[in-house]
Symmetry: C2
């Protein structure tokens, strides 16, 4: 079997508006984050399957023969990516020695890789020798969709390598995207990886990783916004640890305690998401104006205050908001809150020096901070020419 080598990347995700409210049936806007996860797949003659995950200091390999044995012992329906094969997951858990309930990043990453590798190649009747190396610009466990970007990269690379979907790259371009039906398959396959890692994911993260841009999420329904602008932002990780579960429960408690006070707040957040969606659509179909940015900034401020009403704010986020506002920039938390990450909108006219000084101020607080973009492309295949030098270097090390 001929294995097609490739380099692919997928973006992270952030919630622009609607975090927490989305749990209670309101609209949320999820956006792609141009901090990307890169994956290089190489064919080898080692009769081994190797996975290198330098971000989490994980480098493992297995003999293909052992994996084949595992496969033939399994009663798994092969080549199917639409449902999670619980039996195969159980076998893989036993195989790599991951106890049920163990959710550490390394174990979950290994399980997801082996699962997608086996289900994709099982359909071809063979398990090839490959080395898969992954490098991510995203911090893990920060609510930025790093696991989904990883799963999307795995799905895209392995489905392409196996010939299940064509490679979109031509001689004419250094970066290319798959056709819509191939992305559907990548997304469904990546979703199984997300299910292994998270148990009961919403599917938003892998959808953002696959399609990029901006997605509307409402009561389990995911809609891709057709045309969206790309917006410059700062993404800041306060590194204050938070438990999404505890924060979600806190909002629920507040709703139960003060329904007449909190329910209107969720309605207000719903309207923020819809107003933002409409503004972004105007910006994409027309030339973005300063007034559009004024509205986006005002919505960010209002939503940040509403998140404080819900009790998911944190002094570290207040500090982020204060620091950026002192330079005329508007910020809100993104995701679960209680610390975690925040986004800061940059305007087209925001000067480079302002951006650099703001980043320095935030780093002086001990925060991680990146200048990036939201609304960027989803999963892509790259020729090595199109990949940043430093990423190629990291991937070439293994």
């Amino acid at each position: 079997m001929h294995i097609k080598e490739c380099i692919v990347s997928a973006p992270g995700k952030a919630i622009l508006h609607g975090e927490h409210a989305v749990v209670h049936g309101k609209v949320a806007l999820a956006v792609s984050l141009n901090l990307r996860t890169y994956l290089q797949l190489q064919a080898t003659s080692s009769s081994k399957v190797c996975i290198n995950l330098p971000n989490i200091n994980t480098f493992l390999s297995w003999d293909v023969t052992i994996l084949k044995q595992l496969l033939s012992d399994s009663g798994a329906v092969l080549g199917v990516v639409d449902e999670l094969d619980g039996e195969l997951v159980k076998r893989l858990r036993d195989f790599v020695g991951v106890a049920n309930g163990n959710l550490d990043t390394r174990s979950m990453a290994i399980l997801a890789f082996l699962y997608i590798y086996i289900t994709v190649f099982a359909g071809t009747g063979d398990l090839p020798s490959v080395t898969v190396s992954v490098w991510s610009e995203l911090p893990t466990g920060a609510g930025l969709g790093s696991s989904a970007a990883y799963s999307v990269c795995l799905a895209a690379a392995l489905l392409s390598a196996s010939g299940t979907i064509p490679s979109p790259l031509t001689d004419l371009e250094n970066t290319a995207r798959w056709a819509e039906e191939d992305m559907e398959l990548i997304n469904r396959c990546a979703f199984q990886g997300e299910r292994i890692i998270h148990g009961n994911p919403s599917g938003v993260d892998n959808a953002v990783g696959t399609w990029g841009g901006i997605l509307r999420y409402h009561s389990g329904k995911i809609t891709t916004l057709s045309r969206v602008p790309m917006l410059r932002i700062l993404l800041t990780n306060t590194k204050v640890a938070r438990s999404t579960k505890v924060l979600v429960a806190g909002v629920k408690d507040k709703m139960n305690k003060f329904p007449s006070i909190i329910n209107p707040v969720l309605d207000s957040v719903d309207a923020i998401s819809s107003t933002c969606e409409q503004t972004l659509s105007e910006m994409a179909s027309d030339t973005p104006t300063p007034e559009h940015y004024d509205v986006l900034e005002e919505l960010i401020d209002i939503n940040q205050h509403q998140l404080n009403v819900m009790g998911v704010g944190h002094p570290a986020i207040d500090r982020l908001c204060g620091i950026t506002l002192a330079r005329g920039l508007h910020s809100k938390l993104t995701g679960a809150g209680g610390g975690g990450c925040g986004i800061t909108l940059l305007r087209p006219e925001t000067e480079h020096s302002v951006v650099l000084n703001t980043i320095q101020d935030l780093r002086d607080c001990g925060y991680d901070c990146w200048e990036t973009r939201i609304g960027a492309a989803g999963v892509q295949q790259h020729s090595p020419l199109a990949v940043k030098e430093e990423v190629l270097e990291v991937l070439a090390r293994y």
Copy 2:
């Protein structure tokens, strides 16, 4: 005519919940503030009417004969306190040389005094020689009802001195309050003073100054809450100047711009006022518990965030909230916002050292800060024995 000398006092007011929302038909809770205005009325044989307002460095006197001339030239309906006599106000403006549109504190205070003095005594057919000295613990122009406390004191003292209402003080007590129907008259008379000073006041401030306690204000209707607890608070004046008019217009603009976002916020604030009212009523009819205070604190936090949503917050208030929260105390702005004043709830168990340290922290920011109570008594008459030494000293100077 026998003039009854007296010392009276009236409290200031703060908005506990519902500022701004009240402009749009929602419930607000106004509370009395035990920072009081004291007034001493003395009969003299000087044939002069003297007013001493040391807070605003104003000391004036007029010959009674000149005032009598003014009165007899006037076609004013005498002794009526239910309607503002526009003709008399105009004559008084000419008399003291206050141009229409001039709204400075000193001119307004003089006009209100002369108006109430003349209308109250005109009913008796004589204008007596009196010296009225006023000292207030309230800052002026800070939205704390200082003008209403002044008007209420003027009304109570002059109506009592003229014999229009009886003096409630007996030999058995050093502080006493008037009967309900007398307070009605004091309130109506004080309202005319407020109309002179503010043009189109809501009547809430003079009602709080008269009845004290906690008032519910909704679409022009003022209801006194029957039983309320007295709560310890810190009142902080950030001394950041603000224009109520500009702030109210800003909220209106936001409503027009984002109706679906802002209208639910006003509904939420309405529910905060109602929930607070219910909690206070429970506290008054039963023993207040720590859980009651927990609710009051949570409502304060939520409303402060909602006021930020409306755009009437200010970094000086954020700082106040941050400083007090660092000591476990919860604060919100009170009144128009945009700087101005904030209130901080103290719990019964809050230690004296915590209060003192907090006050020091706030003063270190350049803020004025007082420990006081809300829900305190309305207008009162005092024997000199019941008045704080330092207040008596100030009043005795003139």
